[in-house]
């Protein structure tokens, strides 16, 4: 499956390594000759994003306490906004008045919006999924509301994100009933068609389908076949990161990237832990999102190369090092662990400082991945990364297996 393409070699691979849609141009810059990892650029209306890329989540039109400048300084290129929250407040009419979320929140790089479906199912009581859409009770006045594919796209059109996600029939991955997943697989296809029809802005806003099928390979294959036939600018792998075991998670990702077109971006939703990011890149994924880095910051945790440190811990009271002396973020340039220890969970500025660091950490990780692929040393990068992350080389079995599936063996 692995093909050898590098910056040095030829034009022969150009045809399968790039694609062009009205609002998205994708081009592979380099591929790993051993695994399925690749690094590319994705040109969107507001920004050209380097892939693989992690998207921090700015739920309500803001990155939890950070100025847009600070988010840019931490090297974020594309952020995620939540359709359910923004559709509720401030609502699509106000966003239309401001022309886009970009303008409203003063973020001039790229934005991706989710469809709102997942939030509703996870946040709201009595959310019921019918063929029409997601039926739910308004948390404000208890009245019955309906989020249809059309309505989801209408809100996302108002938000104006560079990439929109289809409304998909999301099933809790731990559901046991095959039938339920089968229904969801086919319904997701029908909802994709409705979403595509409802998109008023195809020249400026991309619409990504979301592959379903739970943990069932046959259903995944059906979903892959049906959704790729719609010839979308990019695709997402959905229905994962919902608490399933990792040894069930990675085979599904592997299957999907094997069947998704090479010359289009692949987005695995809800992935954000460093180890998961590295493995998924090896499996051929390009885009990720997760609330984890910004959420854990608010609990006082900073991301480092072997996991995270909780700055509340007493051991940091007299530690005058920065979080990470290799990190060039403004937090690490200016503050010590000792200072952070005195303010975490006490002053809101601690949230800001740690969020900046954690976003910068994720960006640096992604940049290191990209550079290692460009320089033909991705495999070594993965080996070194895992060795640093897992002391005594106590690698989890799923990591060993997933990497072995793409011909990477870890150091022992």
């Amino acid at each position: 499956m692995a093909t050898t393409t590098s910056l040095a070699s030829g034009a022969s691979s150009v045809i399968t390594s790039s694609s062009s849609s009205p609002a998205l141009t994708f081009k592979i810059l380099a591929e790993c000759s051993i695994s399925k990892a690749r690094t590319s650029i994705m040109k969107l209306p507001h920004y050209t994003v380097e892939l693989p890329m992690f998207m921090p989540v700015g739920t309500q039109g803001t990155m939890k306490g950070l100025l847009p400048e600070q988010v840019k300084e931490a090297n974020a290129q594309i952020i995620l906004g939540n359709t359910y929250h923004l559709g509720t407040r401030p609502g699509k009419d106000l966003l239309n008045k401001f022309q886009s979320l970009h303008n409203f929140m003063q973020w001039d790089r790229a934005i991706l919006t989710d469809s709102g479906g997942f939030q509703m199912v996870s946040l709201l009581e009595l959310a019921e999924i019918t063929e029409e859409g997601v039926k739910f009770r308004s948390p404000y006045d208890g009245s019955e509301c309906m989020l249809t594919p059309e309505e989801s796209i209408e809100i996302q059109n108002a938000i104006g994100g560079d990439i929109m996600m289809q409304l998909d029939d999301v099933v809790d991955v731990r559901e046991k009933e095959y039938e339920r997943f089968k229904i969801a697989t086919y319904r997701t296809t029908r909802w994709l068609d409705r979403c595509m029809k409802a998109n008023k802005n195809p020249d400026m806003q991309n619409l990504f389908p979301i592959i379903q099928g739970g943990l069932f390979p046959d259903l995944r294959k059906i979903s892959l076949e049906e959704l790729t036939a719609r010839n979308a600018p990019g695709y997402a792998i959905g229905g994962l990161s919902g608490g399933e075991e990792k040894d069930k998670f990675w085979p599904v990702v592997h299957l999907c990237t094997n069947h998704l077109p090479k010359n289009k971006p692949r987005y695995c939703m809800g992935v954000g832990f460093a180890v998961d990011l590295v493995v998924c890149c090896a499996l051929g994924v390009d885009m990720f999102d997760c609330v984890f880095p910004t959420r854990t910051a608010r609990f006082g945790c900073a991301l480092v190369d072997n996991g995270q440190i909780n700055l509340k811990a007493r051991e940091f009271a007299n530690d005058f090092q920065p979080i990470d002396d290799k990190c060039d973020c403004t937090t690490c340039q200016n503050y010590t662990r000792s200072y952070l220890n005195t303010i975490v969970t006490k002053e809101t500025v601690a949230c800001h400082l740690l969020s900046i660091h954690n976003i910068a950490y994720q960006m640096r990780l992604m940049r290191n991945i990209r550079e290692s692929i460009k320089e033909g040393r991705f495999v070594e990068f993965v080996q070194d990364f895992m060795e640093t992350y897992y002391r005594d080389q106590a690698y989890p079995q799923w990591v060993i297996d997933a990497l072995a599936a793409v011909n990477i063996t870890l150091n022992s």
Partner: protein, 308 residues
């Protein structure tokens, strides 16, 4: 910490409700604390480059404040590295400072400062509103803090009062501030406003121990909680050069306030501190050009326009 200057430890836990007995006790204790601080300061190597400020106490009792200051005046020559005075004991921080009438603050301050030489800096910390600041400035107070803009930020509001004598871009009160007029502060004795002096009493509340609810704001600010901001595409203050006003609309800030996002107080504080700093630049400039009274009148007229 090795500060440039510090306040000698004191008992300033008095406010307008304190009994005479409480005030006396605070003075007694503070006298002893002051002597100990001076001694400790003398013997401290690390504080050789730090000066200390002497607290000026006496609660809300003018005679006690005078008595204390006279006693202090007599001892000044014996101190090394004494740097200035700190006016204390009139409030217990937060809104308890905001709701004192400027006239009252002035008379208490005057009784503390009159017996003392004028060549030392005086600081008066607390959430004094802009008119109180001007009254205190006229009495010769030199150093204030940012408690007022902080309180304004905490209640999700933004300062709008005119800060400059010369600027033409000063915002006149926008009509949609009518919606929060009904929540104006109450006064104990509510005289008719006939001139500026009585006006400053008008804007004072005497609501006892908890002077201010969340939805009550001063006439110097506008509330971003207010629904009227929902779709306003203008900044908090047109012409303001702060980061917030140069980049964000009232609509966006209102949204952040409405959904309880951390960025709301960040943006508000940036504006409020900027506005506060500009206010003090104006004060200094007005003093240099002999126009402090003009500045005071300008702000008083602004208040009158809001509460005609």
């Amino acid at each position: 910490m090795q500060p440039d200057w510090f306040e000698a430890l004191n008992d300033a836990d008095t406010d307008k409700n304190s009994t005479k007995k409480r005030v006396s006790k605070s003075l007694l204790l503070s006298k002893s604390l002051l002597e100990q601080c001076v001694e400790a300061h003398k013997n401290s190597e690390n504080l050789q480059d730090s000066s200390f400020f002497i607290p000026l106490l006496g609660g809300h009792c003018e005679s006690e404040r005078t008595r204390w200051s006279k006693a202090v005046a007599g001892t000044l020559n014996s101190y090394e590295r004494f740097g200035g005075f700190s006016l204390l004991g009139m409030h217990t921080n937060g809104s308890t400072a905001e709701t004192l009438a400027p006239k009252l603050i002035s008379s208490l301050t005057k009784s503390s400062l009159d017996p003392l030489p004028s060549e030392y800096p005086r600081q008066s910390f607390g959430a004094w509103n802009p008119l109180a600041i001007l009254s205190l400035t006229k009495l010769g107070v030199d150093i204030f803090d940012s408690a007022f803009p902080f309180l304004v930020t905490e209640r999700k509001a933004a300062l709008k009062f005119p800060v400059s004598l010369d600027s033409e871009s000063d915002e006149t009160p926008v009509n949609d501030s009518l919606t929060h007029q009904s929540k104006k502060l109450k006064t104990e004795n509510a005289p008719e406003i006939s001139n500026g002096q009585e006006l400053s009493e008008e804007i004072v509340s005497n609501e006892g121990e908890n002077p201010r609810e969340d939805n009550i704001i001063s006439p110097f600010e506008m509330s971003l909680k207010d629904e009227s901001n929902f779709s306003v595409t203008e900044p908090i203050l047109v012409g303001c050069q702060c980061y917030t006003c140069k980049n964000f609309t009232r609509s966006y800030i209102h949204h952040l306030v409405n959904v309880n996002e951390l960025l709301a107080p960040v943006l508000l504080m940036i504006h409020n501190l900027h506005h506060w700093t500009k206010f003090f630049e104006s004060i200094r400039s007005a003093i240099k050009t002999g126009r402090l009274t003009d500045l005071e009148i300008k702000i008083q007229s602004y208040i009158l326009d809001i509460y005609p």
